[in-house]
């Protein structure tokens, strides 16, 4: 979602805050949400990533051109998961540099 979609206050259809991808207190949408547990070396670590933000310089939007209706977009999520800073920063719920870094990893998963 670009900055206009974030701020226009449409709030219906795919923009419905009910879908759980909306920040009410700091108007904007969560572009990517990942919640779960990481098991590594016998240790379980919970993590919560709500990645979003449209204000420069910490914008998390990227345009893709989709040429035809039947075109598939594939993403290699393994590279995203292996880049997550689960040990050092298991929770990110705000726009900012940390969120942008994860967003950039997310973008690079698209082939």
């Amino acid at each position: 979602m670009d900055s206009l979609a974030n701020t226009s206050g449409k709030l219906e259809g795919a923009f419905d805050p009910l879908l759980g991808m909306y920040w009410a207190w700091n108007t904007g949408y969560i572009q990517l949400k990942m919640t779960g547990n990481s098991y590594s070396g016998g240790i379980t670590r919970p993590f919560d990533y709500h990645i979003g933000g449209y204000r420069v310089p910490f914008s998390t939007s990227k345009s893709f051109n989709i040429l035809t209706a039947n075109q598939f977009v594939t993403a290699n999520l393994d590279s995203l998961f292996s880049s997550l800073p689960i040990q050092s920063t298991p929770n990110i719920m705000l726009p900012g540099p940390a969120a942008q870094q994860i967003f950039n990893s997310f973008v690079s998963t698209f082939e």
Binding site: T7, G9, K10, P17, A24, N26, T27, P95, G96
Partner: protein, 338 residues
């Protein structure tokens, strides 16, 4: 949209009651800037306004049906929360900030003391879902509304909605809150040349223009900027204000400049309600030796630049911003659902 046109025609040169339309719906006062609210997206109707008003006063919106919007936004105090420095929610929970008055919201570029919310319709999600306020979820409140035959009928009538969705709820509330226009104080009638200030009010007005108007700019009596006025951080909450939204250290402890309209009635004052009397607020500005950093550069007052007499004059002027046709407008009061 059509409504503004009609009122604009009527408003020119006519007597003051024309500035307070009888039905309570939004109007644009003469010479005011263009409102920012997107009326095309949510065309106002009397039915929609009345539905929004019913919701505003209905505790069904809170998790345990004990708290309504009006619990913290009372009309007679310009929809602010008197007697409480910060807002109260379900289970006697206490919030961190002073519930602000609600008026002239159609001109607001952003909402909340930190400006984090950018549109009026979306604002309502915050008090609805905040654990220290109404503590409800959107799912929960929509479920309750969809089970309620009164609301089912009303939402069908206003929005043609078979099933009440988030946007219907928010638009209905928006129709009511955007209509809370206050532009008929003594100050306004003086500006319209229908009455005159007393000598003391006039002296206060001159002081206001000299010292206050840069931030509390007419006609809205705010410039919607974020400033620090020398009261210093709140020791209990350490609320860093605007910085919570922007993440910038320079924005720490800055809060949105509030309107001064109806300020006589919308006590207590400041973002955390720490000052209870208006004359104490003026006293704070008049005594720079008591200020705590950060202090915005617009604060030009120095110690003794407002004498005790000046402070009284300023207070008299501020009271001319009281709009009784707003505070006692029966269209904004609770009406039993019909």
């Amino acid at each position: 949209m059509m409504r503004w046109g009609v009122l604009h025609l009527l408003g020119i040169g006519l007597i003051s009651f024309m500035f307070v339309p009888g039905d309570g719906l939004f109007y644009r006062p003469e010479k005011w800037p263009k409102p920012l609210y997107n009326f095309d997206d949510n065309p106002l109707t009397l039915e929609g306004f009345s539905l929004g008003r019913t919701l505003f006063y209905d505790p069904i919106l809170s998790q345990d049906s004990t708290v309504s919007c009006a619990s913290c936004h009372l009309q007679y105090t310009a929809f602010a929360h008197v007697d409480h420095s910060t807002s109260h929610g379900i289970n006697s929970r206490v919030g961190k900030r002073n519930a602000p008055g609600l008026m002239n919201l159609a001109w607001y570029p952003m909402f909340h003391w930190d400006g984090g919310v950018l549109n009026l319709n979306g604002q309502a999600i915050n008090p609805l879902t905040h654990p220290d306020e109404m503590g409800e979820t959107l799912e929960g409140v929509l479920k309750k509304l969809n089970r309620n035959s009164y609301y089912k009928t009303k939402f069908m009538k206003v929005f043609g909605a078979e099933h009440i969705k988030t946007s219907h709820l928010l638009k209905a509330l928006g129709q009511f809150t955007v209509s809370l226009v206050s532009a008929n104080s003594k100050y306004d009638s003086v500006m319209r040349k229908e009455s005159t200030f007393t000598k003391q009010e006039q002296r206060g007005y001159s002081l206001f223009i000299k010292y206050c108007n840069q931030c509390h700019t007419a006609p809205l009596f705010t410039n919607f900027e974020f400033k620090a006025n020398g009261i210093g951080p709140n020791n209990q909450f350490n609320d860093s204000g605007r910085a919570l939204i922007t993440g910038k250290a320079a924005d720490a402890y800055l809060f949105r400049v509030p309107t001064l309209r109806n300020i006589e009635y919308s006590f207590p004052y400041m973002h955390d309600g720490r000052i209870s009397k208006l004359k104490e607020v003026i006293h704070h500005y008049a005594n720079s030796s008591n200020w705590v950093k950060p202090i915005s550069k617009e604060l030009k007052l120095k110690n003794n630049s407002l004498s005790p007499e000046d402070q009284k004059d300023l207070l008299k002027f501020l009271k001319t911003l009281t709009d009784r046709t707003f505070l006692f407008n029966t269209n904004f009061q609770y009406h039993s659902p019909n």
